[in-house]
Symmetry: C2
Subunit: 480 residues, 2 copies
């Protein structure tokens, strides 16, 4: 083909003719990127100024120099979650090998998980690895699953299968169903459930919120009452979602008690373990997930506490054949295969990335020992923070931490309750601007809290010391 | 933190302490990858043997050497779409800069498009760039959109908004709706529409297939009849999907005539331009999309004919405020922003990759001129193949090509019609094993066809010569 309007490095020539130009460009981008990552602690965890970038489509090809400059600006203007003081959200640096795996996946561009023909290696790897992970959760001999680009899609997938299994709507749709299907989840469950219910044609009102206890965990007695009430009201309960690792406080719903209720009422039991699922890799903490083995489906995001580069999530099913029976949409333009299915026919996405590659490489590079240590260490730091909050007379916990999340509030005696939200918002700003610490500021039970997530492997005791120094200095200054 | 169980290069230390180990690993992966890409033409376009990979979760950390070996095996065992003889699917090598952009996006891991706080730069860039692209399609002053990880999600998103806009089901769901909602698309439209209908609770039967003409394009008169019939049957027509670039033959539905019908019946007008949308970047060919400016929504995948690394797709809306009115699900744990929305609240996904980065960089590196040339060149090769098929007395076109796809069949006189499928399947195998050419073998109107997609920038006239040499040699050999 004639490529005279294109820069020499636009594509990698498959005969090697432009190898030098490509190597130069790739090396420059890589060097710039590594330099940024290796100096992450020198910049703010959350830059406050947006770079000036031009979202245009230029007439002709730009220079590599301009590209590098734009890339640098974009990366440095972004949230700096690699910073050891970025402890505000369920985000941190990913494993080195998952980033490099993603590079390979992008480059070969054959990470099209639509069909076996287009992705023979990765399709097989995904089937095998999801089976293994399902086995880690104890989901039984028929279990398996599919990956999804993010946890919201994994929840959507699980609820779609649950809906189709309980009602005969695959071909016919919901318009003919006379009793409204409803599902149950705690009042602090993730909003992706409302989104899934809306998308699935159930409507956001189909998600019945169930009261939580003082530690943000669903109350089984309230669940049973809600199910009974829905039945009396002529609605059709079909599913309960338990959360293992709530977004704001990292608590775990009582899985065994919820399992009992789903058995009694014959409801689908989904566990949203997007965050907490990682505990299966901790010898010391995995029993916190007891009961998950009874789930009909599980959402698990290795993109969070397993440090795999985003996105990497999965929907697991105790009976993976349900994907074929209750979900499959055939693609006649694709050749099938007896041993490995066309994953695009079984998943919410069609074409998607080979996210299994970076997951597999991360397991290989870290090993169980490495994951185990990362999780245990974050518990150690969490306990340290929790104890200091409890001892502090001006601080209050939102709930008893069960994972590596501590959510707390400054409640000094001298501050009237109606001014607490402002005080905590100011404290968050001061921690960022003066102490290079980013903590988040969620709304929880109608007030503002400070939330710390201990994910970054380079966050240490010194970071925690800085956090409490900052809090004390701020409160002292505000008091006077 | 204690990281004694982890290899030194597991994470990039934000103070630079392990820079050397990280550089070594990154450089080795990059060198191996570039070498593979630069020798892509030396391997088969579609390897026939799967490498032996172990999908295990090892007890302890693996060596970088083992990782590199696994990466090499995985990449070399995969579909080799960079090969200039890989002309079988809508897949080829991506732009160099989109791969490098993806690397940066993965590495900073702050490509969390969930919220502005987590992705200030990329959120703004996505809003601006989707507005610009919507303007290219002529969708009007209020147009814009969101990115999605793949075209199936973009279609799902568009149909969700269409459904919610036409029926009041956001909170209430479909169970209360008495007339079944139906949408219309050509009989050869993409199966992601059935999947979307199933997920959305409309059911696969809600997609009414409309007859096509001899060139695989929806027949407007058949559409009008189908809408009338659905109304008579007590169903509720709400949407028509036109396809600009059908999957198998690359044809374009008559957009202006379909627009007329959607106006007359007050139906949502969605154009699935996942593939063909790229024509807006060709001066010579863009008028083939005339009529798309009237669409209520458009699906467009730069991951295909704009050569952006997978995944990169978008759903565009003539009135982007509908995302807020008819789709939004708020996330109370996220801080909002007045100027730029939390994109996770407006899109099917929550957490997702910053796919806008590689799109933006590709525009910058290629420019309009570069995209224009790539598209024009693929038309030139397409015309060449089309003419040779037409001239050939043993070959027959499936439809008149309108894009860079030629779908044809070997129909030699000596081969009885009932053996044609076998003959074409064998021909496909021979082209792969003996001529290093991968063409696909779709089922179309109940028989097997050979399908050529001219995407690879390094496919040339010599490739085409090899294709016809292979066909002629095979037919000569089979005849005797």
């Amino acid at each position: 083909m004639n490529r005279s309007n294109l820069p020499n490095s636009a594509f990698v020539d498959p005969t090697g003719a432009n190898a030098e130009a490509v190597h130069d460009l790739a090396k420059e981008v890589l060097d710039q990127l590594l330099t940024q990552l290796e100096t992450a602690d020198d910049r703010s965890p959350l830059p406050q100024e947006s770079p000036d970038l031009s979202a245009t489509i230029p007439e002709s090809s730009g220079s590599p120099g301009g590209l590098l400059e734009d890339l640098e600006k974009a990366a440095e203007g972004s949230m700096n979650s690699a910073h050891s003081g970025y402890i505000g959200h369920m985000d941190t640096m990913p494993t080195t090998i998952s980033v490099l795996g993603d590079l390979v996946a992008s480059a070969v561009n054959n990470n099209n998980m639509l069909s076996v023909e287009m992705s023979p290696v990765f399709s097989e790897l995904e089937v095998e690895l999801t089976e293994r992970i399902a086995a880690e959760f104890g989901l039984g001999p028929d279990a398996g699953g599919v990956l999804a680009s993010g946890g919201s899609l994994a929840n959507l997938h699980a609820l779609a299968v649950a809906r189709n299994q309980m009602f005969d709507v695959h071909a016919e749709g919901l318009a003919g169903v006379d009793r409204k299907p409803v599902l149950f989840a705690s009042e602090v469950a993730h909003t992706s459930l409302q989104k899934a219910a809306m998308i699935l044609g159930l409507g956001t009102d189909a998600v019945v919120p169930v009261k939580t206890d003082e530690n943000s965990r669903l109350k089984p007695v309230a669940l049973e009452r809600a199910v009974e009430r829905a039945k009396r009201d002529g609605r059709a309960p079909f599913c309960v979602v338990a959360t293992a690792g709530t977004t704001t406080t990292g608590n775990i719903d009582p899985l065994p008690a919820i399992w009992d209720i789903t058995s009694e009422y014959d409801l689908w039991f989904h566990v949203d373990a997007a965050y907490g699922g990682a505990l299966i890799f901790s010898k010391a903490e995995r029993d916190r997930l007891d009961g998950i083995e009874a789930a009909d489906s599980v959402t698990f995001n290795p993109q969070k506490w397993c440090y795999v580069a985003k996105t990497c999530a999965m929907a697991l099913f105790a009976d993976v054949d349900m994907l074929q029976e209750d979900f499959q949409i055939g693609a006649p333009y694709m050749r099938g295969d007896d041993a490995v299915p066309n994953l695009g026919e079984l998943s919410v996405q069609g074409t998607r990335r080979a996210e299994v590659l970076k997951l597999w490489l991360t397991f290989e590079h870290l090993g169980r020992d490495g994951l185990d240590q990362l999780i245990d260490e974050s518990y150690r730091l969490t306990t340290m923070i929790r104890d200091r909050v409890v001892e502090h007379n001006a601080l209050e916990l939102a709930s008893r931490p069960e994972m590596n999340i501590v959510c707390f509030q400054a409640v000094p005696q001298w501050c009237p309750p109606e001014e607490r939200d402002d005080l905590n918002s100011q404290l968050q700003q001061v921690l960022l601007s003066e102490y290079d610490l980013f903590v988040s500021l969620p709304t929880y039970h109608d007030s503002r809290w400070l939330r710390v997530v201990l994910l970054n492997p380079f966050t240490g005791e010194d970071t925690i010391q800085r956090l409490f120094n900052g809090i004390d200095a701020f409160l002292d200054a505000e008091k006077t």
